[in-house]
Point group: C2
Chain length 224, copies 2
DNA sequence: AAGGAAATCGCATGTTCGTGGTATTTTTCA
DNA sequence: TGAAAAATACCACGAACATGCGATTTCCTT
């Protein structure tokens, strides 16, 4: 169940980690003037914020600048989360760099906002996060979806036969030719022949390349 | 480059695929009363819509119900997209079923909206899609991020050294030991030793297993 | 200054792989 | 029913791999 602070008597506790002091201060004042929200701590670096995690009560939400000097915001995400998985982290960034977006979201950020968002929009996003949502800038949301689709797109059909697909499975899972032969009750030679044909169809020459290609292009369906 | 129809003289062409006729009609009237938008065709099944793709001009956006009788909306996504990759598909659904969400987004849906969204919200979403965004219901966005984080969580740290990570990269990309040695200006023996150590740390005994493990557990960062 | 971890290089041996062949028996489908 | 495709099986040889050992150098930390 998602925990919301709506009904608590305590206000939502928000930390800011942002090196630009004027932006930090203006954000803090906006938050502190919002009913039900308190910006109890603000920091200019991740290191200081992490230190405060040892002594201060945990925040509900951290607004985290990604482009910080010292420890990058991305590395910090895991560390904040290691204190409590319930801490929501919303990334603030100037530009929507693909890699940063991807990495931050992989590390468990709850949202991703561009800094040119209005302050109202940022406050709204905090509320959205607390309600179990994920505030995403429009274009970033699309990039996320594109990555999503790319991860699962089957581009090419190499016209493998059923038997070949089956053997590819075992190959990818790390079995040797002999082990595959044993598992499928075939002779080593038969497996060898099939693998030769697979190599031709996939245009590779080594086992390593087959496995790599199979993963990259989603040539098999994971069973778990 | 993202194509927008904003500056065209032609209105945005929107198809509806939805089996509830009253909902379909009310949606159509809202769209047709919106300046710059036309709902030229509406359908009660995917099959009929796909048939129309053969004869009618392609739509810019399709609002697609997922829970349709006959062909599921999810299967239809690929088919619509196969006509033109530029057709944006926005999913309409009553409930935010995890699997449906995941599958639809994997197939290339541009957005995902719950049917209890206001009609204004839906019109706004169409505009957002055309502007290169991805309208996502708040809770769905969070689920997407959760899946994202789960897919890329690095569970175990095998304590590989920098050099070992580097060699693992090349190993995974399909190079032989000798090729790695050449690329890093090392002797074959050095690479061999590193690989031995990698095997120990990852607890594997074959190249195939290393590659498999590396992909499964995201032991390396993709560079693109 | 000392200790340890990491990186480097070397050798030897048995195993597995990659690839060139050829050939027989199903299975499939027009 | 008859040809094509797929699956099965075999051999041989050089290349690449896995793994046992030992050794020196470089760099970091205390």
């Amino acid at each position: 169940m998602i925990k919301t602070n709506d009904k608590d008597n305590f206000p939502v506790n928000i930390w800011l980690v942002e090196d630009n002091s004027s932006y930090r201060k203006s954000l803090a004042s906006v938050i502190n003037s919002t009913p039900g929200m308190i910006s109890s701590n603000t920091f200019s670096t991740c290191e200081r914020a992490l230190k405060a995690m040892e002594t201060e009560p945990f925040p509900d939400v951290i607004l985290l600048d990604i482009g910080l000097p010292g420890m990058s915001g991305i590395k910090a995400i895991q560390k904040f989360k290691s204190y409590s998985y319930d801490i929501h982290i919303v990334i603030l960034t100037i530009y929507d760099d693909n890699d940063s977006v991807f990495n931050a979201l992989c590390e468990g950020a709850s949202g991703y906002l561009l800094k040119d968002s209005t302050q109202d929009k940022i406050v709204d996003s905090i509320k959205e996060v607390l309600a179990g949502g994920a505030p995403l800038n429009m274009h970033i949301a699309q990039k996320v979806l594109q990555l999503f689709a790319k991860l699962n797109s089957k581009k090419v059909d190499y016209e493998l036969t059923e038997r070949e697909k089956e053997i590819l499975q075992h190959l990818v899972s790390g079995l040797t030719k002999q082990q595959i032969a044993d598992k499928l009750f075939l002779s080593f030679h038969t497996v060898n022949t099939h693998i030769k044909n697979i190599y031709k169809k996939l245009q590779v020459t080594t086992k390593a390349a087959v496995i790599s290609k199979a993963y990259k292009e989603n040539l098999f369906r994971p069973k778990e």
